[in-house]
């Protein structure tokens, strides 16, 4: 084999590798804000390498909801709930918290066992309407309402059951009306975090493919929301219980509710792994601009343990590193031992 041959082969390979792997040219100059965001992302990556996620249930494994750590997490939850309440109130919309967890038919997870009663009492304390669906969910057969044993999220029947539980809440707020409107120029392009006009099949790594469609505004729905609004707008903020992985759009609870409420626009901004601090930032940044008259927030006790700093660093929609508090740092070190 000649030298020419060797050189050609090296060229063939390197040309491909270079052209293939360097297709994202770096801008010559980046602004100070962009630089700060990049620095945050880098720091977040470093922190996530340093601090792995720990299972939520470990935080409550000694069945004590009054540990300093859990008390601190509850405090953060309350703080964010209060913030969301205030943000929603500023728009004149009505605000309902609904506790939905995947505890059908069996003992609830520790995070729900201790977290759900705390959410109920906190809502009461803050004067927020709260509907706790966990007792009625517990009465359901998990093999019917969820995809057990492959996954704990809703089955088609489960989504229909959930829709039947949410319908009375929407109905009872049919007169809700916000006081704020926005100019088109103020409105962001999206209200939710899904890729706009997404139309793809996902399987969550569980070999359970499902069809996800998002509208142009990044919400899990198949039509766009038009302005000025002609119908009551009901905004859903939620995590996977409302997003419903492993179900096609047409079978999820919010789509089923759309058929029951033709005179309301149901806006589904739910996304996997979202929690209350995500709802706060999403509402402030994007969702409030869809001019909701009623805001329904899905939560459960898992949202409290989600405030542990490693969870936030790994899952939050805001890519900003959270440093551990002294209590968290101490807990993390103990956990590692």
């Amino acid at each position: 084999m000649s030298v020419k041959s060797l050189v050609t082969i090296v060229c063939l390979l390197s040309a491909g590798i270079i052209s293939g792997c360097s297709n994202e040219p770096k801008p010559a100059k980046i602004s100070r804000e962009e630089a700060a965001i990049e620095a945050d992302k880098k720091k977040l990556d470093d922190m996530n390498h340093q601090y792995a996620r720990i299972p939520d249930e470990r935080i409550l494994e000694d069945h004590n909801p009054n540990t300093p750590l859990y008390t601190e997490l509850k405090g953060r939850y309350k703080e964010h709930l209060k913030k969301l309440q205030k943000d929603v109130a500023a728009t004149g919309a009505q605000f309902v918290v609904v506790i939905i967890n995947n505890g059908a038919g069996h003992n609830p997870a520790l995070s729900n066992l201790y977290g759900n009663p705390y959410i109920v009492s906190t809502c009461k304390e803050l004067g927020i309407e709260c509907v706790d669906l966990s007792p009625v969910i517990a009465q359901q057969d998990p093999y019917v309402v969820s995809q057990t044993p492959r996954d704990g999220h809703w089955s088609k029947k489960g989504a229909a059951f959930l829709a039947s539980q949410l319908a009375p809440i929407i109905r009872s707020h049919s007169n809700a009306k916000s006081t704020v409107t926005y100019k088109d120029s103020e409105r962001p392009e999206t209200f939710g975090d899904l890729p706009p006009n997404d139309d793809e099949v996902l399987d969550g790594g569980k070999d359970m493919p499902y069809h996800v469609q998002a509208n142009a505004q990044g919400c899990r729905m198949t039509h766009d929301i038009k302005f000025p609004k002609t119908k009551q707008h009901v905004l859903f903020l939620g995590g996977s219980q409302l997003y419903s992985p492993y179900l096609d759009n047409e079978f999820i609870a919010v789509t089923l509710l759309e058929k029951q409420f033709p005179n309301a626009e149901l806006i589904n901004t739910a996304a996997i792994a979202s929690t209350i601090d995500d709802y706060v930032s999403l509402f402030e940044e994007k969702a409030k601009y869809c001019e909701p008259d009623l805001v329904i927030v899905q939560t459960n006790g898992g949202d409290i343990t989600d405030f542990f700093f490693t969870n936030r660093n790994h899952l939050s929609r805001i890519l900003k590193p959270r440093m551990p508090s002294a209590i968290e740092d101490n807990y993390y070190s103990t956990y590692l031992k």
Binding site: M1, S2, K4, S5, T8, I9, C11, L12, L13, A15, G16, I17, I18, S19, G20, C21, N23, D199, E200, V201, L202, D203, G205, D207, M208, P209, Y210, H211, D248, E250
Partner: protein, 472 residues
């Protein structure tokens, strides 16, 4: 260790360098390949090489035993005995479920007591071993006297998982010769590897979720989406399996072994016979050499010939798995031959469709379309978990919703397959898809770069799925 992973890339580069450094010593090269293949196979499960080396020992021993028998009856007995032993593992592991599952009371026992790990690629190396001892019996080849050479041949990592099923007469002698690659061979190897990666990582990995979705949600979809979904599955299967085979061929050529070309652009075939001469050709050749020809081939009456075709195809279905769906798939594909045989129109095309033309002739186009759809529709059996689901799937396809608007996600995924089909159509008369000998070296480099760039850009890491044919 999948072919399209960094792990394999590193592994292969290391093996290649060490292998080339030892080019003067063939036996050292064999030892390198043997160790590398053992390691490659071990990476799937630590216990798998044990089974493999047992099979290799049995095959090697029977090769020698058959050869020393002077008496024809004894040779035949030794061959039969060898085939039985070699086939025992495959029959037991793959087919005991089908056999015992039908016997009341034994199905549970089989499931609980006899369940063991299925060695990946078992069908391939079992057929290779059976082919080898049969060739020795027929005196087509001399038996291999060196155990290391034989073990290297059977366990050779480019073909052990999903073929091509080697023909001993063609492949084994190559292990005995020294080899220095030419520039053309290296360019062809790289071309095949890059195109194989493109098919796997850009086409197959992107459409696999939609294919899975269509088959798991068929009850919720309309007929047109299901029809296009099966079409997508057909294209996916081709991209996945032929992509694998091309990487295997390219990698193997760099090691001096020219494997059997497993796919020759089958989707441009003009009748089922041509399709099967272009699809999984190594398996076809195996059936041809070891079943079809001994049973008479074409030298029998028309009725017997038809029966033989139906038997071979049903049997090849069974090779894919112990499920009646595979038998139906094979039978239906065999059935397609009947009208062609009866009307005498089973043309044996020697050249690709519409040679020298950019677009196919109308006649070729219609024939290609018919053949593609005939073969594609049988994939419902190939993919369905049982006959009832397949029946249900067919009834959903051929319903009044067949002409409804199909699901957008299915049609967009079909678009992912189009560049592959168009490029292969343009290059259908070449030895390999990226062949461009007449073009300047710079342009050839750019073409390679473009394909590699598209692999980097379009590949979805989260869909890094296993090759479909590993399960066979």
């Amino acid at each position: 260790m999948l072919f399209n992973t960094t792990d394999f890339g590193i592994f292969f580069c290391i093996v290649l360098v060490i292998y080339w450094l030892a080019w003067k010593w063939r036996i050292v090269q064999h030892i390198i390949l043997l160790v590398a293949s053992g390691y490659f196979y071990y990476r799937f499960h630590y216990s798998l090489p044990i089974y493999l080396y047992c099979m290799i020992s049995v095959g090697f021993a029977f090769g020698l035993i058959i050869d020393v028998q002077a008496d024809a009856t004894k040779r035949k007995t030794a061959l039969t005995f060898g085939i039985c032993i070699l086939g025992l593992g495959l029959t037991y592991i793959k087919y005991s479920g089908l056999i015992l599952g039908n016997i009341h009371g034994l199905d549970q026992w089989q499931a609980s007591v006899l369940h063991i790990l299925t060695p990946i690629g078992i069908s391939y190396f079992t057929f290779s071993s059976i082919g080898y001892i049969t060739d020795v019996y027929r005196r087509t080849i001399e038996p291999e006297k060196n155990f290391i050479t034989y073990a290297t041949y059977i366990s050779y990592f480019p073909h052990i998982l999903s073929g091509p099923i080697p023909s001993a007469a063609k492949i084994l002698p190559q292990f005995r010769k020294n080899f220095v690659p030419t520039f053309e061979q290296i360019e062809q190897s790289l071309g095949e590897i890059v195109w194989g990666l493109f098919k796997k990582m850009v086409v197959a990995d992107n459409v696999v979720l939609t294919v899975n979705y269509v088959f798991s949600h068929y009850q919720d979809l309309n007929g047109s989406s299901l029809f296009l979904g099966v079409t997508l599955f057909s294209l996916y299967l081709y991209a996945d399996f032929s992509g694998y085979s091309e990487i295997a061929m390219g990698a193997s050529r760099l090691l001096g072994i020219e494997l059997t070309k497993n796919f020759r652009m089958p989707f441009f075939s003009r009748n089922p016979s041509e399709f099967w001469r272009r699809w999984h050709t190594s398996l076809r050749k195996w059936f041809l050499d070891y079943i079809y020809m001994p049973m008479g081939g074409k030298k029998v009456s028309t009725l017997k010939y038809i029966m033989l075709i139906l038997f071979i195809f049903s049997f090849s279905g069974l090779w894919h798995g112990a499920n009646y769906t595979f038998v139906c798939w094979g039978f239906l594909n065999g059935l397609y031959f009947v009208p062609y045989i009866l009307t005498g129109k089973l043309t044996r095309y020697k050249e690709p469709a519409s040679p020298g033309r950019i677009l196919p002739t109308a006649s070729d186009f219609l024939k290609i379309l018919l053949t593609f759809n005939l073969v594609t529709i049988t994939r419902v059996f190939f993919r369905s978990p049982n006959i009832y689901v397949a029946g249900d799937f067919f009834s959903k396809i051929f319903s009044k919703t067949l002409f409804d608007v199909p699901l957008h996600v299915v049609t967009t995924n079909l678009l992912y397959c189009m560049p592959m089909l168009i490029i292969e159509w343009i290059q259908r008369e070449k030895d390999y898809v990226l062949e461009a000998k007449k073009l300047n070296i710079i342009i050839r480099i750019l073409i390679f770069g473009l394909v590699i760039a598209s692999i980097c850009y379009f590949h979805k890491t989260r869909n890094n799925s296993e090759y479909y044919y590993f399960k066979f």
